[in-house]
Symmetry: C2
Subunit: 157 residues, 2 copies
Amino acid sequence: MRAMEPTPAAPPSLLGLSTYLLSLTGKTARGRLAARLGERGLRLWHFAVLAALADFGAQAQRALSDRLGVDPSDITKVVDQLEAAGQVSRARDTADRRRVVVTVTPAGRAALRGLLDEAAAVQDELLAPLGPDERAQLHALLLRVFTAAGDTRGGED
Amino acid sequence: MRAMEPTPAAPPSLLGLSTYLLSLTGKTARGRLAARLGERGLRLWHFAVLAALADFGAQAQRALSDRLGVDPSDITKVVDQLEAAGQVSRARDTADRRRVVVTVTPAGRAALRGLLDEAAAVQDELLAPLGPDERAQLHALLLRVFTAAGDTRGGED
DNA sequence: TCCTATAGTGGGTGCACACCCACTATTTTT
DNA sequence: AAAAATAGTGGGTGTGCACCCACTATAGGA
């Protein structure tokens, strides 16, 4: 993944589209973050799962799947790897033995901290041209857009 | 591509990362745009190529490839399809017969207008929660980030 | 003229991602 | 107790994307 730079000299008509800018800067962000995570053998979903566990506490895989909007079977795989890395542990829910409760281990928390640092670094790099309050502004705007996009049905069929 | 909604309820630690928001909203933007283009049998690169031709005039594929940062062989394929759709035409450069000069046809321009409309619609939908000046603000910020990201070497090896 | 570089083309590869289905274990409903 | 729903697992699929290589035609420099 060498030259994942956005585009050398994009056509003005496209630069006028926020959609386009969003799509490309998003891709860059994702790419850089993924590259960093990759160095640790992780992917974005691992990050998301660790964060979800840290934020919301131990929970069943189904809950993770719902929360993150990922297919249950994919959650299984992600948890498999996190478990293999010693960052989470699985335990049968004694109340409902169908459920598997996933918990972050201390190692997992440490890893998460590392990942958050990486993310911050990427962010620093990516948002370099912006001052502190501009970054805050951007963040606030993105947050609103993101939140709304979550429940606004876009390309419903 | 049914449920490409961002994430039902993302973990706060991630929502605090602009990188994450950028990555996800970007993905949403890209996804919705791609869905629309898909209805017309096109992809994002077709859009980009048409726009580049409209903005910068007829040019050799190599120029397109350089400008858009796409592999020359991929440009060939995109132009193949655009040509088949009657939206661009190829012609050997008489000065340098290695070159193939690509030109937008009137049909291509019309198609591009349609695509720009689609993009605007997506944007309207996605940026619904923002007012006009907030959108402008977001656009300006993104543009700066995007421009800088273009030549800032990110994950250089 | 010979050699090297460049433009375009065709074909193919590996990866990440989103999905989907079949199956087992367990719980809930009737 | 039987039937239906749910949680997790394993395996597999299709798509889009970025990338790379080999080859031909043409151009340009020594």
